[in-house]
Symmetry: C2
Subunit: 112 residues, 2 copies
DNA sequence: GTATAATGCCTCATATTCCTATGTATATTT
DNA sequence: AAATATACATAGGAATATGAGGCATTATAC
């Protein structure tokens, strides 16, 4: 089973940052990493990923550079910046907060 | 602090069903209930709520009926159906699954 | 008494964000 | 030689929450 689109919305950034916090990766590698770590649950589409990477680079959350390979083909590598690390912490906290509140409503344990 | 729009996406239905699983409510009451139970975190806008209620009624997840008050003014009350209860269970399970997988990625505890 | 806020229902235009489809190109496997 | 996997990129369409607006009644504050 894979992640419902509606729930994925808004979480692409935190997923990408989490991957890059581990080590620098290129786009396709990020997709594979998320796929493998979640056992197929998060299979991010390229049409989702690349626009995100471009925006995140513009926002200085990540830094891209071209890396040539012995084979010849160049790949675009990305690494997380210090801005990106801060943002990752912020998004993680935001997520925890969201989870706490949603659980509270689903469990009906508080309120009037 | 209130819930980020992007995270709320896809969770409106489960929030509404959770409220109505407690007791029948009218639209405005649902907003107030969610607001109070989450201490202001989930403040669903009416532009979000009412289209959802109409769609959910059409999908037989909830049932609406007009209730007149001593004052004279009518209010539209909604109650959850058995379909709605099933759907609530399904969405709760889906949410738990999503949370499990996102946590797994954020904590970087599994995978290659 | 009258203005203001709160209650209560509803719709539409807009922004955001993900997906599908498509295009290009190289490397590896069968 | 063909099929698949790797790798980057963009355009068009679909879904969905928000903001702004409209309408009407009731309670509260001045």
């Amino acid at each position: 089973m894979s992640a419902p689109t509606e729930l994925l919305k808004g979480n692409a950034t935190v997923l990408i940052l989490s991957a890059l916090a581990r080590e620098p990766m290129h786009g396709y590698g990020i997709v594979k990493h998320l796929d493998s770590i979640s056992e197929g649950y998060f299979h991010m589409r390229e049409g989702t990923l690349y626009p995100h990477l471009h925006r995140m680079e513009k926002d200085a959350l990540i830094e891209g550079y071209w890396k040539s390979q012995t084979g010849g083909r160049e790949r675009r590598m990305y690494q997380i910046t210090s801005n990106g690390t801060s943002e990752l912490f912020r998004l993680r906290a935001q997520w925890n907060d969201f989870h706490l509140n949603l659980t509270r409503v689903l469990d009906q344990k508080a309120g009037a």
